[in-house]
Symmetry: none
Subunit: 241 residues, 4 copies
Amino acid sequence: MTSQITPLSGQVPVLDTVEANQKISEPSRAAGRRPNQEHKQKRRSEIIEVATRIFAENGFAATDVQMIADECGVGKGTVYRYFPTKEELFLATVDDGMQRLSKAVESAAAAHANDPLELIAATVRAYLNFFDSHRDVVELLIHERAHFRDRKASTYFVHRQANIGPWRELCQGLIDAGVLRDRPVDDVLDVISDLLYGTMFTNHFSGRRRNLADQAGRILSIIFDGILAQPRIDDRQWEQG
Amino acid sequence: MTSQITPLSGQVPVLDTVEANQKISEPSRAAGRRPNQEHKQKRRSEIIEVATRIFAENGFAATDVQMIADECGVGKGTVYRYFPTKEELFLATVDDGMQRLSKAVESAAAAHANDPLELIAATVRAYLNFFDSHRDVVELLIHERAHFRDRKASTYFVHRQANIGPWRELCQGLIDAGVLRDRPVDDVLDVISDLLYGTMFTNHFSGRRRNLADQAGRILSIIFDGILAQPRIDDRQWEQG
Amino acid sequence: MTSQITPLSGQVPVLDTVEANQKISEPSRAAGRRPNQEHKQKRRSEIIEVATRIFAENGFAATDVQMIADECGVGKGTVYRYFPTKEELFLATVDDGMQRLSKAVESAAAAHANDPLELIAATVRAYLNFFDSHRDVVELLIHERAHFRDRKASTYFVHRQANIGPWRELCQGLIDAGVLRDRPVDDVLDVISDLLYGTMFTNHFSGRRRNLADQAGRILSIIFDGILAQPRIDDRQWEQG
Amino acid sequence: MTSQITPLSGQVPVLDTVEANQKISEPSRAAGRRPNQEHKQKRRSEIIEVATRIFAENGFAATDVQMIADECGVGKGTVYRYFPTKEELFLATVDDGMQRLSKAVESAAAAHANDPLELIAATVRAYLNFFDSHRDVVELLIHERAHFRDRKASTYFVHRQANIGPWRELCQGLIDAGVLRDRPVDDVLDVISDLLYGTMFTNHFSGRRRNLADQAGRILSIIFDGILAQPRIDDRQWEQG
DNA sequence: CATGAATGAGTATTCATTCAT
DNA sequence: TATGAATGAATACTCATTCAT
């Protein structure tokens, strides 16, 4: 159900395909109209696709399942055949969004597996690009949090946590190699992750539409080099609060 | 309605009291029924305080105005005497939260008006501290976005935009003085703002509870100095995507 | 909530009035539109009266609360102000029916307190008369049983059990006085109760419409004297199965 | 469709097999596909058996045809091949129950064809025993009445009416022979029928679990001999209301 | 023949808002 | 002015029935 989400990854992440638990076990009984797995998967995808759009546009509460059924050209009962409740349908759209994010980041990372800094840069660009061209998914994240706050851990952070591992190794390697300053790995990853998360939301919420390639560049520049003109000479301990 | 929000400010931020239409119109006759006005303001504050908590706990849709009335010990009709609709009441709580954020950041900044870098550091700490001790407000921001997406600009970003000015001047001054690298001011401010925004949400959503002073220190360290061990020597242009 | 139901009673049964728990405790707070107890009781009765008819006509499942609201000339929400669920409303109608039965039997019995056999006869007549002229109540008993089978003891039998006491004493007295044969009191009461219950249902379900006074007479004749021409001479033990 | 039901019968009751329209039409070609017919009858019986249990447990409305299909291990469509609607299936279970009652009473009566009073006693016992060991059937009677009130005469009373004949003759014979008092036959039969009906329901609804043989004995004792110690001396006319 | 995928009519309950008192 | 009684629009989910395979 989860997969590569963390915006940094030094190796090709494995996509944990979900189909297993979606397939209905083959009934061993007699003739009759047989269930068609292919057809089921296809229709399930259609519903998720439409639901993603409609939930993103209207939010969870304001979305009537009938709207989704109509848009799909099926009866409401059919939607309920595939997803037992409106909530499950919604969560399926969020999960689907996260899987698509994973694939997008993976693909981008795969092309730069041999140049660590470029790998990081490519990942940052892929992450921002994904959310820029899939604004629906940003909305879903908000609605998930608003509606399921106390019943479910945020899907986004579940994925982030599940896939941080490879990035930690990559970072540690770069520190050992003297490429990065000797800072705790988790501190570095947290700052980068939080910055991307905040940037993504801000882009979306504030309507800020800058050239994404430039934006990624500016972010990387500051992350890599900081904002001070003469950094290390100033010895002040910012850590002390 | 708005006030100092931007997490960086080189001068005592001005509280833009736009709340004209929220305040009960001042009676123009000299003295007379002043006590009533005070009573009204007090009750209005009570309602907002209770509503903040209940909206944060339950979200907008799941909150029944009756719950708020009960908690306040007044009739439902009374709540409607102070706020014409549930939505206006909700928005008033968000605005109230933003004003409190402003005051908190202001106060922290005021103590370091003479040391720019320390001013920045103090602001970062104050910002993270505020949201850490006012988790309600984080929730309200989410619910506002989820429910009012297409009807209202995010109060948070309205405030941010309204109060970025002084920070821009501060930054430009530091660049001119050679303290900061010569990067476009807005780039720097965006990165810092987005990072704080993302950090705040991540702290809240992922349940990450680190020592806040340390967290602020780590953030500042990376912002100021970057993550690379030998920064400027690498001339690579990250801007090119 | 309960009261005299059992069809036999040697003393004026006490009607346990229910109003106590229906009244809303006086709110101690300020002005405003005050709750009006009288008005509430009246409306509650109206709703029960209408609901009795509609539930009896359509059954529980087929009754739409809207039908009741319309018939009452109030909004659906108003019905729900008085009864939190459709089920509670239904059960209230059953209870109301049982209370009315109690009153009817009581009144009839009160007139013959000094002649035990006549008291029994009057009770039998009152019981059959009540259900004959309140066919709604018979229906409610059926629907209650059909719908609440495993969630609630039958209201009818709860009442019957709660009010059998006085009848047991009366019967025992008559046995001691040699008026009745020396049989276990509970056997006698069970047979009479079951016979009345079965007669009531049969009258209702089979559409049998005989003169009720005659019917009561025939029942009493057989109960008192049996069907055998030469009873006690035949010593056969029916008890042995 | 109907059969011997009336609890009193002086001769082997005839099973009125009216179930013509329930049976799958007999194939007129001599032999041929007889096995298929058998298979059909068998499956039909299976479905009725399962449906009886499930309808009794859940009531008509709360029973999902899917539940019955699952329990039978067949597809829902198959159930509909045997019974055109859920209602017809339900009514078939009621009718089946009544036929089983008939058989049970018949068998018991057959053993005492030569002793009228013992025949009556045996019938009473068989009737109470049947419903005691087939509680499902009692439930079905209730649900039938609740759901089909105005569309269908109660199956129970249809059967009762259809089979009262032989009992009337038996009774009249006993009266003529001076065994029973000279009362109108129908009065006697009504009282006995109603008493058994009421006893059966009361046993079921009130959870009263007494030794059935004893119970039958007590009932017979009162029916035969009445409750008065000195019956006929008291000349009072109970008939006058 | 048997099956189960598809359908859509049907309904209890909630709650923002109004307004009589 | 404060109150709470009244209202009715709005909506997820079920399940009997049909019919393509």
